[in-house]
Symmetry: C2
Subunit: 245 residues, 2 copies
Amino acid sequence: MEPAGAFEPPAETHPVPAEAHHPPDHHPDTRERLLQAAERLFAARGLRGTTVRDVTREAGTNLAAVNYHFGTKDGLALEVFRRRITPINEERLHRLRVAEERAGGGPVPVEELVRGLLEPALLLDEEEDPVLPGLLSRFAHESHPELLEQMRAQLREVLHPYLAAFRRSLPALDPTELRLRIHFLAGAMIHTVSHLGWLDLSGVPGEPPPERRAVLEALVRFCTDGFQAGPSGTLHPTPQREPGA
Amino acid sequence: MEPAGAFEPPAETHPVPAEAHHPPDHHPDTRERLLQAAERLFAARGLRGTTVRDVTREAGTNLAAVNYHFGTKDGLALEVFRRRITPINEERLHRLRVAEERAGGGPVPVEELVRGLLEPALLLDEEEDPVLPGLLSRFAHESHPELLEQMRAQLREVLHPYLAAFRRSLPALDPTELRLRIHFLAGAMIHTVSHLGWLDLSGVPGEPPPERRAVLEALVRFCTDGFQAGPSGTLHPTPQREPGA
DNA sequence: GTCTATAACTTGATAGAC
DNA sequence: GTCTATCAAGTTATAGAC
């Protein structure tokens, strides 16, 4: 009984030289087509809302193809995730490094940090129709535990250095509040971009949707000023509804 | 063939006086228990992630109970939605009216508008363990078309008057950008509150999670200043990556 | 109103021919 | 590597006894 190695044909466990023969992979694309179909469908209908049958139909392949190439449906999802999310996070870290060099030890302007987090996610797949934001949202909101752990691990690697940078740029801000604000930024980005998905703008049938660049700029502006707001601690203690009048 | 009326036993189609006999409803709670179990599970695992079996098991009732009381699983979801989301939106409108009266024709302070949108969603079920934010998120992100339409319709009724109020308070802001900012607020709220769900704070194992009140205040601060930010239109034209160096 | 039993269907995954 | 055929498990919903 050795079905363990049955799937994972392009098992690049060892650092095979990049130009080496792909293992007898005549059709250069069937695995690729699966990935592309999957990311489209996952973004549009969610993980649980997409069946393996949907994916193989959309990819024009056989039902068994997903299991052959990725073992399980979750395996496919994990690969889709890695392929699309990893480059975003690398770009985020790259931009942070560049910004910090440019600042030469001093604090990095808040807007640059905000852009460093937002732009890679929103502009990295500019040529194609943007499936990435939708994917981000789906993964964030309905991942299985394993996938979620992957996400969290990657996110930690990005957020840790960004948190440090923010802290240097906003030294007066309480660390917990800073952390919360990063979540606000993430939420604003993910929600805006997936839900209203560059598509509609909350029911104004006449107007065309704003261009993604405009959405990005608006988001940057909103978040930058949000980050630079004073601390909330002693803010107006909430005008509660009066019981009597 | 009259199975059409089989479900919907408390069919309150007509404006029955509130204290009228519930139709032979000895057990005061089985329907109620279903609703409570459903909203807990929906909030925790999502709509598609929750099966009718889960709900009935959690409620301690029979598998057929859901179909008897609500017709279909979607019918149950719709009722859960109405029960919990409708009061939020009514409270939002109420707060807006109060704020506008208080302002007496003048512009309402932006912070009051922000609070009017956020507080009802985040504080309305303060006594119980807060299931509401999770529900909001689930409904927003994985609703079936019918439910989504319900949501959108309700949301329109809330957003329309709020948009008008914001416009009076921020007359210099482009209407499209204003609309976007409302989406940012919604996203920040929903994401923060569901994903980090008053529960964990992005992987800092030592610290306790911030209290919901603190989260709310931080969110209010962030969004208020975000709303009051200048227009993004002519903002820094984005330092693109230099091709050469 | 509540239950058991089951129908009708969809899902992910696999075995085995080619 | 790709296919067809099929399985086992899980799903919603319903019929009909109580």
